[in-house]
């Protein structure tokens, strides 16, 4: 069974600083990996996903993530954080069964951005 660990429950950065959110996964086959963002009172929005090809994937809002199979990691990065990036971030791993896909989520990392 797949699982996801997000080691950081809460991260605080200053506006304009760089950001890296950590994600480690466990899955026996080729993982399908995702990052979602949830703003307060909102649903989850897909930032980016990886299932094959280039291990550095670009997403929306200036985010990118790098898949490292040797480290079972899929860390999310942004070079310069904006105040509007304050939200909860979730990493997820899927089983790649497109029509019956089961996503397992990490427990989330809450990002606070200081002015």
């Amino acid at each position: 069974a797949q699982s996801v660990t997000q080691p950081d429950i809460h991260i605080t950065v200053s506006e304009g600083a760089s950001l890296e959110l950590r994600c480690n996964y466990s899955y026996g086959a080729t993982p399908y990996l995702f990052w979602y963002v949830q703003s307060p009172g909102q649903g989850l929005q897909l930032l980016l996903k990886y299932f094959s090809g280039d291990t550095l994937v670009q997403g929306i809002k200036g985010f990118e993530a790098e898949f490292k199979r040797s480290q079972s990691s899929f860390n999310l990065r942004k070079p310069s954080v904006h105040w509007s990036d304050a939200a909860e971030y979730f990493c997820a791993v899927g089983n790649g069964q497109g029509g019956s896909e089961k996503l397992v989520f990490g427990k989330g990392t809450k990002l606070t951005v200081n002015p």
Binding site: F34, L46, E88, G94, L103, F105
Partner: protein, 112 residues
């Protein structure tokens, strides 16, 4: 146009009542899901339907019953509500040729 819409957005009810949450998607996706997000923000899958057929049924009390009248709709009916059912319930959909979900904005259920 909202891609995945849930109603109601908020639901406050007493223990023992029966309630339903509705979900509709206009994306033409084949698969729909219900997820539960607890007070610690942990998301866990409950059910999944593919083209009106139940394909994922996690360990969920049988007081929860999903119904899919067509592939664009997936409703969740909950009988005999308990305090522990208080959570945010998210509907989502996906397409077989793509990976990842599109989520609705959630229904916050509070049982008092």
């Amino acid at each position: 146009d909202t891609a995945v819409s849930q109603t109601p957005k908020y639901l406050v009810t007493q223990m023992g009542n029966d309630k339903s949450i509705k979900c509709e998607q206009n994306l033409g996706h084949d698969t729909m899901y219900w997820y539960k997000q607890d007070s610690k923000k942990f998301l866990k899958i409950m059910f999944s339907y593919n083209n009106k057929e139940l394909i994922i049924n996690e360990t969920v009390p049988n007081r929860f019953s999903p119904k899919s009248p067509d592939k664009a709709h997936l409703n969740l009916h909950i009988n005999s509500l308990e305090l522990g059912d208080s959570a945010v319930y998210f509907c989502a959909s996906s397409q077989e040729t793509d990976y990842g979900y599109t989520f609705g904005s959630g229904t916050r259920l509070t049982v008092v």
